[in-house]
Symmetry: C2
Subunit: 274 residues, 2 copies
Amino acid sequence: MPETFAARFAAVRKARGPLVWGLDPSGALLEDWGLGDTPDGLDRFADLVVPVAAATIGLVKPQSAFYERHGWRGMRTLARLAAAAREAGLLVILDVKRGDVGSTNDAYAQAYLGDDAPFAADAITVSPYLGLGAMGAFVTRAYQTGRGLLVVTRSSNPEGRAIQAARSERDTVEETLLRDIGLLNATLAPGTVGPIGAVVAPSTQLPALALADMNGLFLAPGVGAQGYTPADVAQTFAACPDRVMPSASRSLLAAGPDPARLRDTVAALAAQFH
Amino acid sequence: MPETFAARFAAVRKARGPLVWGLDPSGALLEDWGLGDTPDGLDRFADLVVPVAAATIGLVKPQSAFYERHGWRGMRTLARLAAAAREAGLLVILDVKRGDVGSTNDAYAQAYLGDDAPFAADAITVSPYLGLGAMGAFVTRAYQTGRGLLVVTRSSNPEGRAIQAARSERDTVEETLLRDIGLLNATLAPGTVGPIGAVVAPSTQLPALALADMNGLFLAPGVGAQGYTPADVAQTFAACPDRVMPSASRSLLAAGPDPARLRDTVAALAAQFH
């Protein structure tokens, strides 16, 4: 079996800390950085951020939407960025939030998971509205190729509550997802950290969740611009501090485009999680 | 204001019927058709199906996953296929099921909605796990550019029930979505069919939904290979028969690659909805 994403994350966390830098090049940011809101500008963004990331942290998270808005050329940049980042020793979480019926998920898994995938990443985010039970192809491929799957469970925005806090029999949707992910991980990777993780916002206001039992990694989005702090991350994931990947995007990118200033800003936030 | 998607669908429905042909070129299908499971094979698939569709029906629905698995070249084919189909007079529903927080949805909307979008479609599917309230950018852009938004509400696969049938206060998630979509449409397009539609499986087994009040169009997936019939569609949408777009994919593609046979198969199913 290939080395698991959980094992690679544990090594990266020890060496460089758990912070994930979200690479979300909006049109406004590309203009602000003087790169131009074009496929060429997006290419220059990729060339600029990868070395800064490799010099400071262990994980990056490109958000697919900001590459898709530049069409197939933007998707070509996304593939190139992911390959360059992995080449530089970074772990790449592709934030694509895909999710569909079973046969379609099989095609998505082929696109994003495995060495022969055109957009090869170390882990991807997936969206569970069509059910965790429909994600067999994602689960199997992640397990077989040593990749991670991060199921959006509790998102970082308030508008998700109407669905995420709804109740299916006794439990809420998010509680049900965590429990079902835990069952999958217990089968796939008994006694260790399994391949299926969850996206869980670092909220200290919402009801606590049973996180440690899930036996997987957590992506904690929304640090910085969305208002969550390192203290929120520490408090929310107190039961399993070594399994959390806190992620900040806009608050870090705002320090660019000067590479030295960008590097200092990323390193300063990373230090708060070491 | 530009002509609405609902108005274009009404015209297409009158002239050619409501059937939507799902264009899901799996690796197995490309091999089976002798095209090769490669970006070039995908290009030949696009060249083959667009004229058949234009000769028989009014709407096509490419499923993004099957283009993404061929990387940026596959996405280039997707853009080309969509443009060629619209050029040939077809309405194009891009089945992408995107959905994220607000700022990211803005980037997705730029990718798929509007004349200047790189993947310009007449309507797209979106996935609501992060909340309908986070979709303001999708809603605004769809309204302003005369495009449609189809919110996955009741999917055609059984695994989605754990989330879709969960209860938020009095209503289930799917009932809440339909009601909230109805409120949006009443504001955006009072007295007519609004820009926000819903994906609703043509199931006669599940509890009925208040469909007519939503004041929008419905995409009814799963006809054919997933087991739903034209009679199921008629029964499920009896309250608003002129607002439903039934969709079949694999059961039609199985008749290829011979264009004449493919055309006859598509036309035969289309006739059942006229």
